[in-house]
């Protein structure tokens, strides 16, 4: 187990994530509201929501089995575990080893699988529909993610996240600008898809027929719902970190400066997403696959550009 960060700082990255993740949805919604000319909910609203539903009791449908209760738990645990291999800013991941990027992908898949099964366990056609869509888009998103990572691997010659992000600096950008830019774009798309934000999905709509992620978790209540909301925030953070680490390649050596820059980057990302959500409408479902496949092609192009 290689301690990629010196001394006691290795736990900083997961700590930031666990503490600050719920800020991202808060920021997004706030931005959206402001752009729309409303005041919008306070930044800390997500924390409140989570705590509130954590305190609530739960109601379970007649058809459900223990698997339904297990779903959110596994999902959240998987995302939490994924923080261990996630490098954040100059602070490397707590655990970095050859192939950890595969583990990251595996953990995301695990969380997704658990959520889908929990949804199917309700026996309701709406959850089933949501699970079907989730499965569809995830099947397309996974190759895109791997393509993007593969491109980074090709660029840096490393097969572990921490060294990869350590190796990407201003200089790297300088001579592989198009490649990295395309990869970054891919990450943005993935951030939107995996977290079902506009233009892929609208978490705040009230028409279940058009939902993807939200409709899967309709029947969850109480602590389960809390876990789900928190997990969603963490997922935003994880994929965001991949993007930010790429576009904010500052390794000043000073932990605090790098950390601050990275946090700013995350905030910026959230604001950006808010802007997008305010500006765009969601695509019709049939266009979403093209959106994702397009992202994958971006990375493929990036790879080939670099190979050539």
């Amino acid at each position: 187990m290689t301690m990629s960060a010196t001394g006691l700082h290795w736990f900083l990255s997961p700590l930031c994530a666990l503490l600050l993740a719920p800020l991202l949805p808060g920021l997004i919604n706030r931005t959206k509201a402001l752009v729309a000319g409303r005041r919008g909910p306070p930044l800390l609203q997500p924390y409140r929501d989570a705590l509130k539903s954590l305190r609530r009791g739960a109601v379970y449908g007649a058809a459900t089995s223990p698997l339904f209760r297990l779903g959110p738990v596994v999902n959240l645990a998987a995302l939490a575990a994924s923080l261990l291999v996630l490098p954040f800013a100059g602070i490397g991941a707590p655990v970095g080893f050859a192939g950890d990027l595969i583990v990251l992908a595996g953990l995301l898949a695990l969380g997704r699988f658990a959520t889908m099964l929990a949804a199917l366990d309700t026996g309701s056609s709406f959850e089933g529909m949501g699970a079907s869509r989730e499965a569809h888009f995830a099947a397309l998103a996974e190759p895109a993610l791997l393509l993007a990572l593969a491109t980074l691997v090709r660029v840096t010659g490393a097969v572990s996240l921490t060294p990869i992000y350590a190796a990407i600096g201003i200089a790297t950008w300088a001579h592989t600008l198009p490649t990295l830019a395309l990869v970054a774009l891919t990450f943005v798309v993935l951030e939107l898809v995996e977290n079902s934000r506009i233009p892929v999905d609208d978490p705040n709509t009230h028409l279940e027929l058009t939902m993807i992620h939200e409709v899967m978790v309709l029947d969850h209540s109480g602590p389960d719902l809390a876990f789900i909301q928190y997990a969603a925030a963490l997922k935003l953070w994880v994929l965001g970190a991949l993007f930010v680490g790429l576009v904010v390649p500052l390794h000043g050596g000073s932990l605090w400066l790098d950390g601050a820059a990275a946090l700013l980057g995350m905030a910026g990302l959230a604001v950006g997403i808010g802007m997008v959500e305010a500006a765009m409408a969601r695509y019709r479902l049939v266009h979403v696959p093209q959106f994702i496949v397009g992202a994958a092609t971006l990375s493929a192009v990036a790879f080939i550009v670099y190979l050539a």
Binding site: V73, G99, A131, S132, H136, L140, A141, V159, P223, L307
Partner: protein, 663 residues
Amino acid sequence: MDVFLVALALLWVGGGIAAVLRARPDAAQIAGQAGAVAGSAVGLAAAIGVLVSGRGETLVAFWPMPGGELNLAIDALSAFFLLPVFGLSLLTGLYGRSYLAGRGNAAAAASWFHLNTLTVAMALVIVAANGLLLLLAWEVMALSSFFLVIADDRQASVRHAAWTYLVAAHLGTSFLLVLFVLLGSAAGTGDFSGYIGVLRGNPALSSAIFLLALIGFGSKAGIVPAHVWLPEAHPVAPSHASALMSGAMIKVGIYGIVRILTMMDAPPAWWGWVLIAAGASSGVLGVLFALAQHDLKRLLAYHSVENIGIILLGIGIGVLGLAHGMTTLAVIGFAAGLLHVLNHSIFKGLLFLGAGAVQHAAHTLELEELGGLLKRMKWTGTCFLIGAAAIVGLPPLNGFVSEFLLFYSGFLGIAGASATVAAAGLIAVVAMGLISGLAAACFAKAFGVVFLGTARSHEAEAAHEVAPPMLAAMAVLALLCVAIGAAAPVVVRSLGVVVAQATGLAAPQVRAALAPVAGGLGNATAIFAVLALAAALLWLVRARRLAIAGAARGPVWGCGFQHPTARMQYTASSFAQPLTTQFRLFIGSRERLVPPAGYFPETASYASDTGDPFLRLLFAPGFRWFSRVVAPLHVLQRGHIHVYVLYLAATLVGLLIWGSLWQ
């Protein structure tokens, strides 16, 4: 070697007694099961002994058959491939009797003979070191499995499936015949040592042999488009037989390819490309076809095609590594392929046994008829869930380990110097990504529709948990899935000796190449431990909160539907519909969509039906075309004796003219 022979003897004696006692089915079943279990246990011991001691065993005896010799050899490679054969045979033996108990007739009794013969034949193929001996065992393997497939012969569909199967087997064998006869005549002997002698330093012959092996053995392994027999044969065979066939028999095909590769010099790069192409296409198409199925066992059969593709991807990358002299790449590629052989036999065996349990309990495998079984068949459901998660490649189970190795080799290739290898690596990584994503979708559908929600039919409602022996067999396999995942580093390290033999590299080299990836897996397992811990913690928290706040059962916000019925559930077809429509081009599934019309639609339905496009668009038309072509031969035999005598005269005159011209 003696132990091994004892194992075969036990298997066969048990089967033989079962065949003889067919008049008294119960006794016969006991005998057959005893033979299967005991023999397989002994055989397993022999294989493990070889793997542990690292010392191969050989037996050479005279076999009075020209071109043949009774030449057996168990080396690490054979021993490794013996594991799934004997292991699965042991468990299917355990499982089989309770499964067949429903139909305690003579045929069921006789099926033990075929089952045990199949095991013996597979074992012989794997340890044979003589071309003719291998061919003989190969044919016996095909024949005995044919009898297993046709066990339920009253249905015409079963007979047709059996026909498809044996035809495919025979066509594959004819390539192998050419292969071994060619090698034999070049080497002047039927023994593998002789083959090695002529293959080394003879690239032309080697390439020919490689292609023959890929087609001949590949048709048994189920490489697209030679896969068409799998989705026909596996669903109709008794489930424990399907488990043995899908878990072990198709691996024998992989064994053949690997064994042939070990006889040759460092392969040229294009072999690697061929293997990767075959692997990628089989993998992706296999999982796509699987998505469109709504018969559980058909679906599983197509997943076998997919997993064979994954295995070939690994081997292909390994070959490419050997061709470019990239040792680490070669080692990890082969390790991925070989480990996936073992893993697939475990979880595919488990899934087929689970499907058998479902059939046994609910008397149907039609997905749209099932549902909610998890509540009635807790243990079966749990085992099936583990198997599903494993085959999807989710951490922390065994499927993830081999897919980790495969991804890792892909990334290694990408990170490496050579651009072509990088391209190959990218293909592998992307294909694997697509495959695992689609597989996740497919098994979410399969498990969700069968075990979750509410029952869609009365049979499913009346389902009950199956007998303990069947559960035991499934539990063992499920535990293996978990164990291999947990002990990943150890497993990967211990693959060294097998990989060394498959690649022909020196053992230290191999160990050196495997060490880092094993270490990485060590970290991964640590992370999964953390995950498990976190999950447990969260579960506790949740339990505490609910203990305080209380959890109720009752109607939930079902989007306004207060009384959901089973028929409102999402069906398997609907679940897969977005993907099947997106990949319609490849799947070629026929969809029947009756869209709702008007403001108050009476009926609306969607159903999809996917016969295998290769069967439907390639082979069946081919056969029809051929029979059309030969039909005109009728004219030659119209019954007029004068014409017949005319043939005679014409032949004579023609020959005389030819003869007088001949010098």
